[in-house]
Symmetry: D2
Subunit: 338 residues, 4 copies
């Protein structure tokens, strides 16, 4: 659901970098938003850029031209991970409002350098932690914020993909902790509402030996502990044959909140074998369809209203720092303080 | 769960009539109750009576002897329907407290004659409408009574057996409305908390043509309307392949209450085909196991405390009168006023 | 979710009649559909027409001009009920493909006259029974069609609004059976997959005496019986304080299917008082948001592909005929054969 | 539900040690079991022993006399933890079949000594890990054993009490890992079906500072890793205000199984605030009522049939060894290999 039309506010003209799967999601959401207009699409694959631009009345162009257009006030970066910092820094220098898919960069030092450039330019970025905008997770967080369960004591995050990505992707992904669990680290920080102080990580290669051969794991458990003593457990698997498994549970002093998976329909089929419902929505495009819309609307709303971007660059950095700590813990078998 | 021990109250000695399926349930519940003792079992099948008596430290005997024993203060009638009135009247004349399985008699005039005998003897009976004692239905009724949903506007009762009984049983059952739906008529009266004034019934033979050949139906819908205008719908089927389907829903001015089926376990099995739970508890012995215990405890509690029996003879009669009205409506296609 | 882009098929240009609440829903769906373009909006309220047209790049005009434009190949009628037949007949004479909100007309004879005009013009209409396109109801129907529960024996439809409409609306609505239950009659026909042969209706005024004073009821139960003996029960109330209650259940020879309400989020809140979830989606705009999109896509798909419209004019007529039979039954207390 | 009567098998006469809360549960289950008879009750509190014995037709006596009675073939130890090994060893020397509540002893070396005595006497014990007999957990385990989800990859165990025990109990309990999580360690071993090789534990005092002052924690997370790489996470809290929270989830290569909490009734209450169900069954006496019955029946069945006791002494020892490893890990912050 797009945000409300911005009164007499000018429509925000946007250049999007990236015309792949997630790029198509953002482009469609921009096009459907009454306060925004997709002006340019930039992609190394010219044909993909042209097709996506045509679908939404935009123009395929190159980065330089797009950033030079003073009518473009915001950029959406949905290109491959290694190109993020380049576009962020160029956008910052051109004075654009910046939305960037996670992660900023797989190398934390490069992230820091990028955040310094943003500082120098007095620019900021909105980092694409889409799960914060999932209606169920957002409602759960609101209830926590309102104190409905009192002080947070324990957070449990279950996050499992329906099937592993191709091995070629695994090889360049940075590994499960940096690539997959980074979303969960962000959820943990957001729900604990304080910084984890200790990280313990373990994991195995159980799903596909090829993943192990590529130096990665496919099944992992991480435990976080905050200074207050609040605890968090994260469970990841690259394979849940029943579908995309995305659940959150928060135990507090006065109650418990949990957000279960969403099912495509409410149909129940009863036979002598039992009562069967649908499996969960299959993967992130289905489960987070609404989250992506709300995320974009939140970015545009912040741009239009001059509000602080949240989640911002520091949130992106902090989640990555937890991923680095998890890697260190996994390799050593010991708790890592952050 | 048996009721609390009756302090210094003497243990109630009981003679039970009937050693069949439901008789075994009652006998075990009597034996397990701290305030009662199964003293005699009476059945035309002497071997069955002897076996059941032996299992619980009781004695098999004949009706006359049992009723002549002054130590026996209560009787439980769980024999075949045609023997109910005889045992009720004999029990009343012998001054016993009487628990009787529904129905009192299939012929409403004979019911009236029996209730007259009870009146003459200043005796009363507790009629075995076990569903009132189901923990879920009882909790729902308590919530209605406490006004949690305001004035009752619409009651929906779903009641379906897993499979039809043998044709020989169908032939002597009195038909679906008198044999099966009588429980639902009692639930309707209990939940509406007023007498239905109008009855409309329809039905079909869809499950087994042999049931139709025996002059009965196996699928039925009944609509009741009370003087206040409150409505009730009852849905019956002799076959629900997924198990015993026993649900209640009450819409009120300030909310809705419903009691869903109970499942044997809480296990969920998720695969790519969906998420599967158990089917409902299979049939009445499983679903109403606890209800039968609470029903007996309620009877014994009323006996020990000199309380009015509820549900009593008038409740038994009223449910049967609704069944008769349903038969008349079904045959005429018109609403019947009661 | 809009249907797939129609390849090289020309975009369908549409004139919409009606710029009210439901008109705004259809207009937005047309605008978002890649195979359609909202060309004109017609409404007696010129300002409303102009605003809605402006929001979607269309033009506000009068009916005559719009129908005279040969580029307009389809019309969507979402104006007040009394104007439906006029626009249908004009559209038919102009050779347009016609989508019309239910009902065609409150007077069944006028419906028949309108259907005759369509016949003469060799035109047909798509009637807006949106519930057939609800993802859950559509999935349930597919499962029935595929034989997953065997022969259909009993259909149960629960349909309750969160709160009654204004009394002024009640007065011109045609009454509960024609205005509200007509959707359920369509669902009954669709799910039984045969014509009901007998109708029995009862009802009461329980929610608001003003509704009774206006000659209407607000709470109703209807029972349908098909020639095959299959049964259907429909439960309507103008008030369910917990939200829009839209559920369907179908019992078959080999199982049961039911579609429960949809909740806005999957959040559960556990405290000592119990476990609380959201109430159902509040009303039809929320619950049927996706259904309206799929309904429009289905209409456009049929237009583009030259397919038969379903649900069509005969479906609209048949549901209304059941509503008339219900009124007759309600007034007489007897079963009405149709 | 008690096991089936043992044909012509002699009734097993039992001496029970302990007449406290859990002792009363076992005594009632023994009394209700057709294959067993409660012969003696032994307790340091003579009055408690006498009352419990009287309630079930047994005799209060001292340990020596009871163990000297050759008619007593089995003992049930439900006394305080520090007395377990004494009764176990005395029972073993007297040739009795032994059921003992967990733990055998808080000191693992004392456990080993006790197991040696059992070996010398050619005796064995059945250890009271009641959760294995919970109908839902047992059904889940059966499904795992039958391969319904393929190879086990990740086990998640949630185990939270409604409220902490008295501080005086905390002080002598051995601490959360030994006292509370021991049940979960047993569940982990049982569900993984292999021995955990690595243990990581963390925890906090969040519920009550007095627990911290007593040197204990009240909130804990433990991660286990088996040689195969299979993982397990355990979450414990001494306080869940919504009731006893006992859930299990097992992810496998071909699906996921989970056992949710059980609720007292199936009633749902819908208002504008949402849909509310009961909270979970309050505590272990309610939740595991059926488990305790099945556990006892399993013990008696093994005694009668000369079967191996399961869970046995080695299971008791292994769970305690994991608790010790957890304590070491918690104190060091590092993974402990077992």
């Amino acid at each position: 659901m797009a945000g409300p039309r911005q009164g007499d506010a000018p429509v925000i003209e946007i250049c999007q970098f990236g015309a792949g799967r997630i790029g198509r999601v953002h482009a469609a959401n921009i096009a459907a938003h009454p306060g925004a207009r997709l002006r340019y699409v930039v992609d190394v694959d010219n044909a993909a850029a042209a097709a996506l631009a045509a679908a939404h009345g935009a123009e395929a162009t190159d980065a330089e031209s797009a950033l030079a257009d003073p009518d473009v006030s915001a950029i959406v970066i949905a290109s491959s991970t290694d190109t993020h910092v380049g576009f962020i820094e160029a956008g910052a220098r051109a004075g654009k409002a910046i939305f960037c898919e996670k992660p900023i960069h797989l190398d934390l030092r490069r992230v820091d350098a990028c955040l310094s450039v943003l500082d120098e330019c007095n620019a900021s970025i909105f980092v694409g932690f889409n799960r914060r905008f999932d209606p169920s997770f957002a409602a759960l967080k609101s209830a926590v914020r309102e104190g409905q369960i009192g002080r947070v004591e324990m957070v449990s995050i279950t996050s499992r993909d329906p099937a592993p990505p191709p091995i070629d992707y695994i090889k360049v992904s940075g590994g499960l902790f940096r690539d997959m669990m980074i979303h969960d680290f962000d959820m943990a920080r957001w729900l604990l509402d304080e910084e984890p102080a200790e990280v313990f990580a373990t994991g195995s290669c159980l799903v596909d030996p090829a993943i192990g051969a590529a130096g990665d794991i496919d099944t992992a458990l991480v435990t976080l502990k905050a200074e207050s003593g609040a605890l968090c457990q994260i469970s990841n698997s690259r394979r849940a044959v029943y579908g995309y498994d995305q659940r959150i549970e928060v135990l507090g002093a006065r109650g418990m909140l949990r957000a279960e998976n969403r099912l495509p329909t409410s149909v129940e089929h009863a036979t002598a074998d039992g009562i069967r419902t649908d499996p969960p929505l299959h993967f992130f495009l289905e489960r987070y369809e609404e989250a992506y819309k709300r995320e974009l609307a939140s970015f545009l709303d912040a741009v239009a209203g001059g509000k602080i971007f949240s989640p911002g660059g520091e949130d992106g950095r902090a989640a990555q720092a937890l991923a680095e700590a998890a890697v260190t813990s996994f390799e050593s078998g010991n708790t890592v303080r952050v």
